[in-house]
Amino acid sequence: MALLVIDDLAKTYDKVTALTGINLSVEAGEFVTLLGPSGSGKTTLLMSLAGFTTPSKGMISLDGKDITHVDPEDRNFGFVFQGYALFPHLTVANNIAFSLRVRKWEKAKIAARVTEMLSLVGLDNLAERKPRELSGGQQQRVAIARALAFGPRILLLDEPLSALDRMLRETMQKELKRLHRETGVTFVYVTHDQEEAIAMSDRIAVFNHGRIIEIGPPRDLYKKPSTRFVAGFLGENNFLSGHRADDDETMVEAFGTRFGFPLAKSREWPGDSLTVWVRPEDIRIGQAIGEEVGFRATVVENSFVGALERILLRTATGEQMVATLRSEAAVAALPGQIIDCRIDPSAIGVLPNETSGL
């Protein structure tokens, strides 16, 4: 049975719906990310899990016990805040010891635990500093150590890396993954950064307008999204319009070429007008070989972005699409030229147009 079960949860503030119909199970030891644009409800859900927000409807249960209305101090969930919320008047060691003193641990046990937590987050020599004397990354580590000190079942993290610069963010991502592995604590992580979500999570729940749009492992959501929203929110994507071929309903026509439905069930979709998506990294240059889908496109622009070259193409239907290519492959693609492109058919996604509003 799942550790944490969220059943049909909803939250409304004076007629504004923040969350609706939320169902989610989290297994013990899992790293689940709640991902979505700001205002999508992900933080409201996290606050409901922590007990700071009372849901209007639905139930949250831990180990099969209803905890929907349990006070935050009785839930035993760690919480890492955006901006850390460290106690400014306490030293690093006393910040970490706070939850242990509240629980009336023995002095020796507290000292041992604080030392253990400090070395877990690599701050052994900063025990006596005050939070304001630490850098952002160090404060972050203290916040994590403080939230983990009392051995919580679940660690809730609210955009903990958003205040850090890019380099530090990547280091902290690895650090969080390591802490997750080493402690075995269940992580529920809120972020609006899809790269962060993809890099860290076992599963991602994608939020929009107060609903969970899709839940799944990052790879599945990236490779086989079933909604336009997820296809566009995770990673870069090209959306093109397509339609069922007049002469063969098993074929799709789009961007001046045709190919078979890449997903078996897509044939059941009503309507002839479809949305086709292709990831920039799946487009290659050259004549199609074997099963590959070939098409011709005009190079509009060619820009160097480091390891890769970004090429803006105009297809035969007049739509634009972006391709990212390794520099040596892109040398021939000069603006104004018409070039042959190819795509592996399994990399093409087709979605019914009805879901484009989601």
């Binding site: 101090e73 035993n76 901006g83 919320a85 106690f87």
Partner: protein, 267 residues
Amino acid sequence: MKPRRIIEVGLPRLLAWCLLGFLFVPILVVIPVALTDRDYLSLPQDGMSMQHFAALADWSKGWLPSMLTSAGIALACAAIATVLGVAFAVGAWAAGGWWPSLMRILLLSPMIVPPIIYAVGMVKLWARLSLLDSYTGVILVHVVLALPLTVLAIGASLSNLDQRLVQAARSLGARPMTVFGKVILPNIVPGVAAGALLAFVSSWDEITVTLFITGRAVVTLPRRIWTSIQDAVDPALAAIATVLLVITVLALVARALVEQRQRQRKF
């Protein structure tokens, strides 16, 4: 010095010193007056005398009892106003919403309403409750007058405090009283201390309302001074002003020393 520099730097500096002199020299006049050898307010004529200071220490002359009365009332007022101020300010800070703002305006009204109007109202009310000329009555009135000061000072301290500290403490298992004692209070100590000091001082030299609601039983220091000005211009007044001046200067020096030591410890 070049002429331009004299205009840009020298002139403003001279002005600043003149202003300071204008503020403080009149205060210093009380010192020689306190040392006068005559028994009316004057500068020393044939020599200096400590007789007026001696009179202050004489219990039967009434200065010492009223100083003790004032100190007692001011301490009680500071204690009560600080506790109430902390309770209100922390409650309003934690609750948020519209009602704390409304309550704050109500609480600040003693600062806005002229004291004389307040005093007239209090005479009527206290007469009915038979609290006229009683310690309880004076302390209660002083508490009401001091509350805006403590609420403002403590509120200012709280406005710098991150609301999420409360959530952080609760997520770590702290119950409301622990959150208050271990997280909120330690972080607003400067505001609480400032509030208590302001409350003490406001009670210590409150005269307007006190004049209306006290008679013979409760004689605070400001009231004693007021009475003595009315019937005779006693140089003891200058002596007491000198004592208060010295206490104030000592307090300021002590504060500066403590601050300097704290700053040194930090680096």
